[in-house]
């Protein structure tokens, strides 16, 4: 059952069209990624979902509610973590969570949430004294303190070091296990690949692709490459005769076999039949990065 339905969303700021035509649905319990280059319209889209902006056209329905008309009711059930939103310097971790908990009818236990997010030792630390990762975790905690059914997390790990980023991913997976539907806005492909069940790639204010990360990759750039150094000379046709193989190239003593489907199995089988040992064998598969470049013509920012 879809918990979020966005249909033909359109939003402009003056002459600038931020969102041209965006449609997607998010199912209960999934982690839905919204991907795209900077300025693609990702944040505007989720701001319309959160009821912070009024669409100029199209419809948004969240948990069966209109975010603009039923904003007060929706905000009890939707947690939002915004890009670049900070807290007062002197506000302490526990105070922030207790304050935000007081806004909701059925809040989570702030003390437990603090522990769950690994901020147990920072209970009385002022916001200013927290590290980037700790601030980010507190921000996620604030989005979850109302026990929401849906959490919208915008650029969750931007500005975090790789370890803090991985810790945050673990956190998101634990949140999903509690049954919370998550909308994750990101421009990190690795993050989307690791966490998301489905992703919508937005570019120029439009959805240019919507699929699982694996589905996107195999649909957009289905080719794989196998590199190895054969133990004895081998003719190209040994490989090109295989239906999976599309081309063979050589560089130095190295062979590069490109193809689709179950390429690795086909190549290793033919090598075994010919009693050739493949040294330094590497399988290169396309990643969401490649798919992203293919779809948007841009390198993902990193």
């Amino acid at each position: 059952m879809p918990v979020i339905e966005v249909t033909n969303l359109h939003k402009r700021y003056g002459d600038l069209v931020a969102v041209r035509d965006v449609s997607f649905t998010v199912e209960a319990g999934e982690i839905f990624g919204v991907l795209g280059p900077n300025g693609a319209g990702k944040t505007t889209t989720v701001e319309c979902v959160a009821g912070l902006r009024t669409p100029d056209g199209g419809g948004v329905s969240v948990l069966g509610l209109d975010p603009r008309r039923d904003g007060a009711r929706l905000r009890q059930r939707l947690g939002v973590q915004l890009q670049e939103s900070q807290l007062p310097d002197r506000l302490r971790v526990a105070e922030a969570l207790e304050l935000y908990a007081s806004f909701y009818r059925n809040p989570a236990d702030p003390a437990r949430l603090i522990d769950d997010l690994g901020l147990g030792g920072k209970r009385n630390t002022p916001y200013k004294k927290l590290s980037g990762g700790q601030k980010q975790r507190l921000s996620v905690a604030l989005a979850l303190v109302g026990n929401p059914e849906i959490a919208v997390l915008d650029e969750l790990t931007t500005g975090l070091d790789p370890q803090a980023r991985r810790d945050t991913w673990g956190l998101i997976e634990r949140v999903r296990e509690r049954g919370v539907t998550i909308v994750l806005v990101t421009h990190f492909m690795e993050e989307a690949e690791r966490l998301c069940d489905r992703v919508a790639v937005i570019d120029g204010g439009r959805v240019v692709a919507l699929d699982s990360p694996g589905g996107l990759v195999s649909r957009v750039v289905p080719e794989q490459r196998i590199r190895f150094r054969p133990s004895s000379p081998v003719e190209d046709h040994v490989f090109t005769d295989l239906p999976e193989v599309s081309s063979v190239t050589r560089s130095g003593g190295q062979l590069v076999v490109t193809g689709t489907g179950d390429l690795l199995h086909a190549v290793t089988a033919v090598l075994a039949r010919n009693q050739i040992v493949a040294a330094d064998l590497r399988l290169e598969q396309s990643t969401l990065d490649d798919a992203f470049v293919e779809l948007t013509g841009q390198r993902p920012a990193d």
Partner: protein, 244 residues
């Protein structure tokens, strides 16, 4: 309402934690009152001050320090900082409203001014024979309208400034003008007459405070001008204010 109470509680705590702000706003005028009160010449009647003692003449200017600090120095910078850092926007995503935070800040400013005024009047009366306001109703009106005019100017600065830095840049001159015409930097008997007259109509209207405190009802025109400033600045601020 519950959310507002919680926000007010936390914001009050943050305000007190800042320490320097309440200290300057409330303790500095009191300390100056004590210093001038302890100087014998400060307590002698002098025809130059309309047959009042210097501290009676100067007490309304000390009150201007509290008013100016709370309304045009602290308030706009706090609000602009909250907006710049996304505190207001974040609140807009919760069932609580950013308007509750704005209201809490106004309540804190008003409470600070009230406490400052009560302490200044009380300490002056108890320790240095500064009379209690002789025209209580007129004094209350002058204080309320002067406060309203200054708060409206503070909100206008918060509305116009895009960043916390800009708010600070705008608040400082407004604050200094308020202090100057309030007779804080130079007691007003040292100022040329036309500057004193301008000061009568500059928020918070120190002459109306002085009249009601030490003599009789404040002049209606003084109060009317404060009302006009409060309404115009307040309405403009409300029109221009952005939550993000």
């Amino acid at each position: 309402m519950h959310a507002f109470g919680q926000i007010l509680k936390i914001e009050t705590r943050l305000y007190l934690r800042d320490f320097a702000s309440p200290l300057i706003t409330i303790a500095l005028p009191l300390a100056l009152l004590v210093v001038f009160g302890l100087i014998p010449a400060g307590r002698e009647r002098n025809p130059q001050f309309g047959d009042r003692a210097f501290i009676e003449y100067f007490a309304p200017s000390l009150l201007v320090i509290t008013l100016a600090m709370a309304a045009v120095n602290i308030l706009p910078v706090v609000l602009a900082t909250y907006r710049e850092r996304g505190v207001l926007r974040r609140l807009a995503t919760t069932p609580a409203s950013p308007a509750a935070l704005l209201a809490a800040q106004l309540v804190i400013s008003l409470a600070t001014i009230l406490v400052g005024a009560v302490l200044l009047i009380g300490v002056g009366w108890l320790a240095f024979d500064v009379p209690l306001p002789r025209h209580p109703l007129g004094f209350t009106l002058a204080l309320v309208l002067g406060t309203a005019a200054l708060l409206a100017l503070g909100l206008l600065v918060a509305a116009v400034a895009r960043t916390a830095k800009a708010a600070q840049g705008m608040a400082v001159p407004v604050f200094m003008v308020t202090m100057f015409f309030g007779g804080v930097y130079l007691p007003r008997f040292l100022l040329p007459d036309f500057l004193v007259r301008i000061g009568d109509y500059t928020p918070p209207g120190v002459q109306a405070l002085l009249d009601a405190w030490t003599a009789d009802a404040p002049q209606p025109l003084h109060l009317a001008i404060m009302t006009v400033i409060a309404v115009i600045a307040g309405a403009t601020a409300a029109k221009l204010f952005r939550w993000e």
